[in-house]
Every structure is written in C-alpha cells, then in structure tokens.
C-alpha cells in the first residue's frame, strides 16, 4: 500500500498560475486607452534579456503600460497574494476558519496610524517615502504586538487568549481613531477613503516598499505549511508530537503580520480577500495547508487584480473603492462555490 500525502502537484498550481497570468494580462490591456494584446506581449517580451522585438506601441502607450497599468497590476497582485496567504496562516494557527488577517488588531492599528498621519502628519511631499504607508505599517505591527503582549500577560499562551486580546486591542485603538476623526472632521473623507482600500496611487515606489516584507512573509508561511497541518490537532496534541506549538504560532503570526501590514500600508483596508480566497481554495482542493497556502497565494493575486480592474472600469472615469468590489463580487462567488461543492471545509 502507498500513502500519498497531500502534496502540491503541478496540475492545480499550473491552472492557478495560468489564471493569474490571464488576469494580469487582461488588467494591463483594459482601461480608458485600450492597448493591443499582441503589441503589449511584444513590449513585455522586449524587456527580457536576449530578446529583441519592437512592439509597435507608441511612446504614450508604452508609458501607460509601464508607469500606470503594470505597477498597479503588480501591486494589486502582491496585496491580494499577501492578504490571502496571511488569511490561510491566521486560520491555520488559530484553528478557526473565520480568522482573517485583521484578527489581531492589524486593521485597527493600521487605521489609527493612517488617521494620525492624515490628521496630524507634516507635509511630506519632499520625502522619499510618504508618511501614510509608514504610519499604517507601524500601526498594524504595533496593534498585533500589543495583542500578543496582552495575550501572554494573561498567563495562558492559548490561541483563545490571543484572539480575545486582539478584540480588546482593536476596540481600544478604534476608539482612539474615532476620537481623532471627530476632532479633525475635515479629514473624515480622506480617512474613510483609505479605510475602504484603494490602489489609485500605485506606482513602482509602492511595489518596492512592499516587496521585501511580502517576500519574507510569504516564504516563511510557505515553509511552515506542513507544520500548520500539525497544529490542526491543537496545541496539546501537537506538543505531544514533538512540536513547540506556541513558538510555531508566534513565527507564523509574525510573518503573516508583516505581510498584512505591508499590504495595508500601500492599499488601505481591503476586506474579504483573506477569508474568501482561502475558503474557495479549500472547497476546491481540501484542507491541507500544503496545498492551501501556495494556491491561495496565487489565487489571491489573481482575485485582487480582477477586483481592481472592476473597481477602475465599472463606473469609469470614476473609481469604486476596491474593498467594495471585493465584497460585492466575492460574497456571491463564494456562495456559488459553497452551493456547487459537496466538500465541506
């Protein structure tokens, strides 16, 4: 007899990557100025080493491709991938399918950081990096760190204590944020726009800002995908199997928090991705984190690229907040998958 563990096979990964490539290409082509698919592919191929092609794109079209569309697609893909894989990580370490990347105070912390930056931040036009993403990043990391410290001070190092601490920290930080908003009511609109999430300011600078954290966070989570399956039996049994459960959880939470904070810093609070993408993937390929983590990473990227495409085209020339799109499109899609699949998560 042969035991075949749940391992990532080439088939599903190739399908997911093909879907991502298709979504990215579509998002690059569609916009106020339509670009020719053949010309875009030739232009992209021309940047590869040892390939010499002339695309036939005008200088203006090339600028639209390289300076507007492509960084936005890349950033959307990174943000979606991080929110989805962080969702998988949080759901795994907390053994709770409803956990999302914002569970431990990352959202509330980022919200407070962004609000403070918008309300009281100095003029930063001359700075190499905007204050807003830095403040949001610091807020998200600070929120989770506070929740972790509070959870540990309770004496028990259980997942439940941590989640409750997250609730308390989030409520406290949101209270401060609301207070600041009320005092500085002229900033309400800007804060609100940030909270709903957007990729309108996307550029290569944001990609460069986010990429290091994204890479580190994703690599650490992917390396722990087998151990997330061990944690599925609970701390106690995982310990009896030789695993230091609390330490593994800490490492994974730190990685997922970095990934989430980096995503939030450049895009605001885009909801729903961290729940709907892992769940959809789970319904399709089962519950093993060995499949769930890498496939959710790719599917999350594709999902957010398409959501952003919808956000900027549906009501063009106006833009919808992307968080509205992710919920509006994602929820019915999720319901459809739930209805048509027999496997229960």
């Amino acid at each position: 007899m042969i035991v075949a563990p749940a391992r990532l096979r080439a088939g599903p990964l190739l399908v997911a990557c093909a879907g991502l490539a298709g979504a990215a290409l579509l998002a690059v082509l569609v916009g106020p100025v339509r670009l020719d698919p053949g010309a875009v592919l030739a232009e992209l191929a021309g940047r590869l080493p040892l390939v010499h092609t002339t695309s036939g794109l005008s200088q203006q079209e090339a600028a639209i491709l390289w300076e507007l569309r492509l960084p936005r697609v890349v950033l959307g893909g990174l943000v979606g991938a991080m929110l989805a894989v962080a969702g998988v990580a949080y759901q795994g370490v907390f053994r709770n399918p409803l956990a999302d990347p914002y569970l431990l105070g990352a959202a509330a912390g980022a919200g407070l950081g962004a609000t403070l930056a918008i309300a009281y931040g100095p003029e930063t036009s001359g700075w190499p990096v905007d204050l807003l993403p830095l403040a949001a990043f610091a807020g998200a990391v600070g929120g989770v760190a506070a929740a972790y410290a509070l959870g540990r001070s309770s004496g028990t190092r259980t997942a439940t204590a941590l989640i409750l601490s997250g609730v308390a920290v989030a409520a406290f930080l949101t209270a401060i944020q609301t207070y600041v908003q009320q005092r500085e009511s002229e900033t309400l609109r800007e804060v609100y726009g940030w909270i709903l999430g957007r990729l309108t300011t996307a550029g290569w600078r944001e990609v460069a800002l986010m990429a290091p954290y994204a890479v580190v966070g994703a690599v650490v989570i992917l390396l722990h995908r087998r151990l997330l399956d061990v944690l599925a039996v609970g701390d106690d049994e995982a310990s009896s199997l030789g695993l230091r459960a609390a330490r593994v959880r800490l490492v994974v939470v730190v990685a997922a928090t970095l990934a989430t904070a980096a995503a939030v810093a450049v895009s605001g609070l885009i909801g729903f991705v961290g729940i709907v993408v892992p769940h959809t993937v789970r319904l399709l390929v089962g519950t093993s984190h060995r499949l769930l983590a890498p496939l959710s990473l790719v599917a999350g990227a594709a999902f957010l690229i398409l959501a952003d495409l919808a956000a900027r085209t549906v009501t063009a020339p106006a833009e919808l907040p992307i968080g509205v799109v992710t919920a509006f499109v994602g929820a019915p899609f999720f319901a459809l998958v739930l209805r048509t699949t027999r496997r229960v998560p």
Binding site: V3, D229, S240
Partner: protein
C-alpha cells in the same frame, strides 16, 4: 524496553494540587491500567509523563536522566493517545497517521520515503490500508480510534499512553481496541499505560492496576489484590460485586442500593483529607 519511574511527582493545575508527591514504577514492557474515580489525577498523570505539564519531582523515561529530553526526543519515546483527540475536518487517515512522524522530520523539511513506508506499514498493521484516502470525519468511532492508534504507532515510541481508549465505543469495539493494543504491545515490545474507567476490562487487560485517589496512589498490584469490593466502595463510593469469572479473571458488577458496604466520606480535593459529615 523502556520503563517509567516517577519519584515525588506533584502537579498543580490552576493552583489546585492534582498529583501529590506521587511515586510510581512502570517496568519496561509491562501493561499498567490507571484506575480511580473522576478527578483522581489519571489524565494529569499521563500528561505529566508525556511532558506536557510542569511538575515537581522526577519523571524518568527509560535510562535518560529526568528533564534531559527535548520535546522531540520525548515524542520519539512516548506516544500519547488523548481521551478525545482532535479530528481536523477534511484530513485524510493517511495524512493524520503521518502526523505521528513529526518528531522525526526536521523543522521545515517534509517527510521522506521512509516515513511514508513506516506509515503504510502501520496502517496495514491496523487494517486501515484501504482507509488511507478516507476523510477522518467520515469514519465510525471504532475506525477513528484505530486511526488515532495508527498516528501513535507511527511515532515508533516504546511507551504508549492511552487515556480512556474505549470512550464512546460499544462493548464489542471496546474489546477489539484493547485486544489490538495488547497484540501491538507484544509484537512491538511496548510499555503500555492506560487510564481506564471499566474496572473489569482494566483487570483483564493489565498486569498491574494502579488506583489513584486524590492525586495519590491508593492501591497498586494485580487485579485480584486491587479490585475488592471494599477498596472500590471506599474510593469510588460505589456498591459493586466482584465475581469470579469461570474462564479466569474477575468481573466487577455494579449493584443497586444496599451493597452492604458504606461508601467512604468524600475527600476534600484541596487538602486530601476526608471531609467529616
């Protein structure tokens, strides 16, 4: 074969003492049943031996000095089957049994061909070969208990600790599971310590019975010595008859009403002293 020695072991849970200055020697290769009323410390004792609880005193596993084994080393020597194991939804029996190889797989690595072969052998041994691809949550109680045993055996630990291994099983499956454990013990030279509620089964499937009460060893020895009507009445506050089984062994039968023996006064769990009426 690996034995277990406990010397002066005390454990407190949430500040409440559960094991008190407990001494116990389990010779390698023996089969010991831990019996005792609810709350007497059976589960706590098993968890302490498995290294899951902070404790005072010494717990020695085999010839390793007390406290010298890391979490992984401990998991290679001791396999614990909890009373109600977690059943991760959607996990297959094969993947679940593979979790037993965790103490052998380096931190961020994946299993080797050898790990898979060991798991396959264990599943075959437990007649679970055809179940490898089945989801754990689709199994019956008896099948699931065998899957949990498979995970424990995949640890290849010389000591097997079972916490109420027959909970929720009908009488036929109870016997099957215990026979299976006994066969495995002989085949694999295991030391088996089981916490058990059914005193008749405990007497049938163990060489030594250890009766815990109030966190201490109240009685220990062969079944005939420990399972007397007087001892059971005193520590369980139960009326029973202990009958001779013509096939050998003894049978403990609860009887209703005046068993002729008065139950002992309840014991204060905090002080270990009997409460006066």
């Amino acid at each position: 074969m690996t034995g277990i020695e406990l010397h002066g072991v005390s454990v407190a849970l949430d500040g409440r003492p559960v094991l008190r200055d407990l001494d116990l020697i389990v010779p390698g290769g023996s089969r010991v049943a831990l019996i005792g009323p609810n709350g007497s410390g059976k589960t706590t004792l098993l968890r302490t031996v498995a290294g899951l609880l902070p404790h005072r005193g010494q717990v020695r596993i085999g010839d390793a000095p007390p406290g010298s084994l890391s979490r992984r080393e401990l998991a290679r020597r001791i396999a614990l089957v909890p009373q109600t194991p977690a059943v991760p939804a959607g996990m297959t029996v094969g993947d679940y049994a593979l979790l037993g190889r965790t103490p052998y797989i380096p931190y961020l690595a994946t299993e080797t061909r050898r790990d898979l072969e060991i798991v396959a052998r264990v599943l075959d041994h437990l007649d679970l070969g055809a179940f490898a691809g089945r989801r754990l949550d689709s199994l019956s109680g008896g099948e699931r208990q065998r899957a949990v045993l498979a995970r424990a055996l995949a640890q290849q630990a010389p000591v097997l600790l079972l916490d109420e291994p027959t909970t929720g099983l009908d009488v036929g499956h109870q016997q099957q599971v215990l026979e299976l454990v006994d066969t495995l013990r002989r085949d694999l030279d295991l030391t088996v310590v089981s916490a058990m509620h059914d005193l008749t089964l405990a007497g049938q499937f163990a060489d030594q019975l250890v009766l815990l009460d109030g966190g201490r060893v109240a009685a220990a020895g062969p079944a005939r010595q420990v399972l007397t009507e007087r001892v059971i009445a005193r520590h369980y506050a139960a009326s029973v008859r202990v009958l001779e089984d013509p096939g050998g062994g003894i049978v403990v039968v609860p009887v209703r009403g005046s068993g002729g023996l008065k139950p002992s006064p309840p014991v204060d769990t905090a002080t270990g002293k009997q409460v006066s009426a």
